[in-house]
């Protein structure tokens, strides 16, 4: 049974599950570092998936799909930034409202525009091409797992060290972390907390939009109502578990993706779908309990409570 469970195909499905979670979590992490409590990744991802599908359908081009997906994520992130940064609204209430709005809006627009309910597939929807790297993708096991990604897949992995460099080695990163820690101190040295917080929230809009695009045009080529299926929330937990550090967030995303991939595989082996679907969230729950203290501290920091 073991060799039926673990093979290259499992690893492939883990990496596939990981890409959207990682993209969204990296965005959430930037917000966390800037002192914005960001839980709207779920909604931004879903809106991104819908818009990416629509853009791709419209132009029969995955390129326009990416543009649309990012735009949708950014639009929602602007609402969040305006509400929490400019108007000092409660980030939890706003985040949940935006998530519900994205769910309702995509569920409403799907039948209005495409005339179907539930799931929409169409040959006009142009999926993201896989771009195998010649040579490297031939390596047994890891070749097909790591070097046969969509452009967004490669991007997600490259962003981990890139964002680490940005946050911890550049002046902009130092200022962003400063803003997140003590906005008043940053302001008294002439660094605008508002500008950096907007920047962080918009960056997370871009990244969650890309996560949604990967879901609708990369992992699958279709849109289904609620297809983000909690991945945005899993990303929230990945940020906490990874203590907003890029490599640790990568590790946390890998853990959750592994749970998802394994659930999918167990389903193939005859376990009831309800149980396998619950697996990633069971892991999330355990992680949350394990990181309970950190979570409390995080809430303290970001809500100033």
């Amino acid at each position: 049974m073991f060799d039926q469970l673990f093979d290259a195909a499992l690893l492939e499905s883990v990496v596939r599950a990981m890409v959207p979670i990682l993209l969204a979590a990296l965005g959430g992490m930037i917000c966390e570092r800037a002192g914005v409590f960001q839980i709207a990744m779920e909604g931004m991802m879903l809106a991104g998936a819908f818009a990416a599908m629509a853009g791709s359908y419209l132009a029969v081009s995955s390129g326009l799909g990416i543009v649309f997906g990012v735009t949708a994520g950014v639009l929602i992130s602007l609402m969040l930034a305006f509400g929490t940064v400019s108007r000092q609204g409660d980030p939890i209430v706003l985040g949940i409202a935006l998530n519900l709005m994205a769910l309702g809006l995509t569920g409403f627009l799907l039948p209005q525009i495409f005339g179907v309910r539930g799931t929409f597939r169409h040959e006009r929807i142009d999926g993201l091409d896989r771009l195998p790297i010649p040579g490297l993708s031939e390596i047994p096991w890891i070749g097909s797992v790591l070097f046969d990604q969509t452009i967004l897949g490669y991007l997600a992995f490259l962003l981990v060290p890139a964002i680490w460099l940005l946050l911890f080695r550049t002046p902009a990163g130092l200022r962003l972390r400063g803003v997140g820690e003590r906005p008043l101190a940053a302001e008294s040295l002439g660094v605008s907390p508002t500008a950096y917080k907007y920047g962080a929230v918009i960056a997370s809009g871009v990244l969650s939009g890309l996560a949604g695009t990967q879901l609708a045009l990369g992992n699958l080529v279709l849109f289904a109502e609620g297809m983000s299926a909690g991945r945005g929330w899993v990303a929230v937990v990945a940020v906490m578990l990874g203590r907003a550090h890029p490599f640790a967030v990568f590790g946390a995303s890998l853990l959750f993706a592994f749970a998802e991939g394994l659930g999918f595989r167990l389903q193939g082996n005859g376990l009831p779908v309800q149980i396998t679907d619950a697996l990633p969230f069971l892991v999330t729950l355990i992680a949350l309990i394990a990181a309970r203290k950190r979570f409390a501290r995080l809430l303290d920091l970001t809500t100033g409570g």
Binding site: T170, L174, G178, E181, A185, L189, G190
Partner: protein, 507 residues
């Protein structure tokens, strides 16, 4: 000599308040200039205008003879101003170097050049005798060092005019003396220092000239060498003030509070109080001195019932209350004026009358068949408001609308007025102005004269020396010495506070 700073008719109006009323002030280049005034005299507003954080309604400011109107802190910094805020504005998880170079980072190919920033910060620190390790993380440093980091931030930006807002509030006497040395060194290097304070002793010791603010106006411009603390105080308050507040002492009576061998754990499981024993008798004020974080807060919390005791006992009027509930402690005669008057001492959204009543609401005088007797409750509130001269709007308005001094009067009025034999007063006058301090001190003395027992913790050594019958000094969780205030100076107490005498208790 050219003026480094010149304020001409600077006026700032807030709804209902004239915060600055045509303030004139001239700060000469290369002098230490003290700005003194009570809370609400307009010091903070004036500095906010100078620093571009608030726009002035009228008047203008000249920096080195040039008209200056800064749109942000950055403009002020670029014009050569540096501000050391009273509440430090540092990033706790960053290193000293990162805190100092923030926004002016040396870079190499787009990345922060960390060895270069450490080198530059060390250079500036060495030049002015500011002992700081640039690689330390700020949250691990004591407050005295944090202040040096703040000064370094200004010097790294090559500030020629340095503004220090109440810089000694958190320092021990030794740290204060060190700071004064640094300030004099900075003056001698040609910089101009604007020193904001309400402590007259520091004005006399440090400044060259003084500007006094009262009710938003600049009421006096004095040369320090030609004036006296009494004269400055008279300008600050507009009346004669008796600065010698040492209270005549009475002979104490029976022990009201007895603490023996108390041990307690602080945050993060750190042992905060070790084998602390003390006694407070009726008719005396026992003052606890110590550098913040040496177990005073934890000791008080254990006595007040907010923190569990690990060992030892607390007796109130002979009854063991070591493990009693807070309500039981209060009903058996403990009153408590906590350090945090906003978060612990009052409920900020509740009304003034409710805050004056709190924890006494079950008293039969305030109830009728289980409902509040609103007439009695209001009458109670009004009588306290007039007895304590609390400046408030309608008594139904939230207590958060009160100023700091009036808020503290609400807490003190509530705690004293119910005839409890023991009063615990934690930092009873922190952040208050001279008038409010005088008032609260007179109430504490009155309470003591009426036979009450007072246990007071204060970071203000002058307060400890002025009020205490006996002084206990805490260092690293232990009560290291008992002192007689008539036999010691602030400096003597300060030495014990830093633990210097720990090895030689008879030294």
């Amino acid at each position: 000599m050219t003026a480094a700073l010149e304020f001409r008719g600077v006026t700032k109006r807030f709804p209902g308040v004239l915060a600055n009323d045509a303030v004139d002030m001239t700060v000469r280049a290369g002098e230490i200039h003290a700005v003194v005034g009570e809370n609400g005299a307009g010091k903070t507003t004036l500095m906010s205008i100078l620093f571009g954080l608030l726009p002035a309604d009228a008047g203008h400011i000249l920096v080195n003879g040039e008209p200056a109107r800064f749109a942000s802190a950055l403009d002020a910094i670029r014009a050569g101003l540096g501000m050391v805020h009273q509440a430090f504005r540092l990033f706790p998880t960053l290193t000293v170097a990162d805190n100092v170079v923030f926004r002016e980072e040396p870079t190499r190919s787009g990345l922060v050049d960390r060895s270069e920033s450490i080198r530059q910060v060390r250079n500036v620190a060495d030049r002015y005798g500011l002992a700081v390790d640039p690689t330390e993380v700020v949250e691990n440093l004591p407050v005295g060092v944090l202040q040096r980091v703040e000064i370094l931030k200004a010097l790294y930006r090559d500030a020629q005019i340095l503004i220090l807002d109440e810089p000694t509030a958190v320092l021990t006497p030794q740290e204060r003396d060190k700071l004064f040395e640094v300030i004099r060194l900075l003056r001698d290097s040609g910089r101009t220092i604007l020193f904001i304070t309400h402590k007259l002793g520091e004005v006399m010791a440090l400044s060259d000239r003084v500007t006094v603010l009262r009710d938003g106006r600049s009421v006096a411009h004095l040369v320090t060498a030609d004036t006296s603390p009494e004269e400055i105080a008279r300008h600050m308050t507009g009346r004669e003030v008796d600065l010698d507040r040492r209270a005549p002492q009475h002979s104490p009576g029976q022990a009201v509070l007895a603490v023996s061998d108390l041990g307690a754990t602080g945050e993060h499981g750190r042992l905060a109080v070790h084998e602390a024993s003390l006694e407070v008798r009726s008719g005396e004020i026992v003052g606890i001195a110590g550098v913040a974080g040496n177990g005073q807060s934890e000791l008080i919390e254990v006595i007040a019932g907010l923190r569990a005791a690990d060992s030892g006992s607390v007796h109130l009027n002979g009854v063991d209350i070591t493990h009693a509930e807070v309500s039981a402690r209060r009903s058996s005669g403990m009153a408590y004026v906590p350090e945090d008057r906003h978060g612990v001492g009052t409920s900020h959204r509740a009304s003034v009358w409710a805050n004056l009543l709190m924890s006494h609401q079950r008293g039969p005088a305030f109830q009728r068949r289980g409902w509040f007797n609103l007439r009695a409750v209001r009458k109670h509130a009004r009588s306290l408001i007039s007895a304590y001269d609390i400046r408030t709007g309608p008594i139904g308005s939230p207590v958060s609308t009160l100023s700091g001094g009036n808020l503290q009067k609400v807490v003190v009025a509530r705690e004293i007025s119910h005839g409890a034999p023991l009063l615990i007063a934690e930092q009873p006058t922190r952040g208050l102005d001279i008038a409010a301090i005088e008032f609260i001190h007179s109430r504490l003395i009155q309470f003591r004269n009426d036979g009450g027992a007072v246990l007071m913790v204060s970071a203000e050594l002058s307060e400890i020396l002025a009020l205490s019958t006996r002084i206990l000094v805490m260092f690293e969780g232990r009560i290291v010495v008992e002192l007689d205030p008539s036999q010691v100076t602030e400096a003597d107490v300060g030495v014990y506070m830093t633990g210097a005498h720990q090895e030689h208790p008879d030294g």
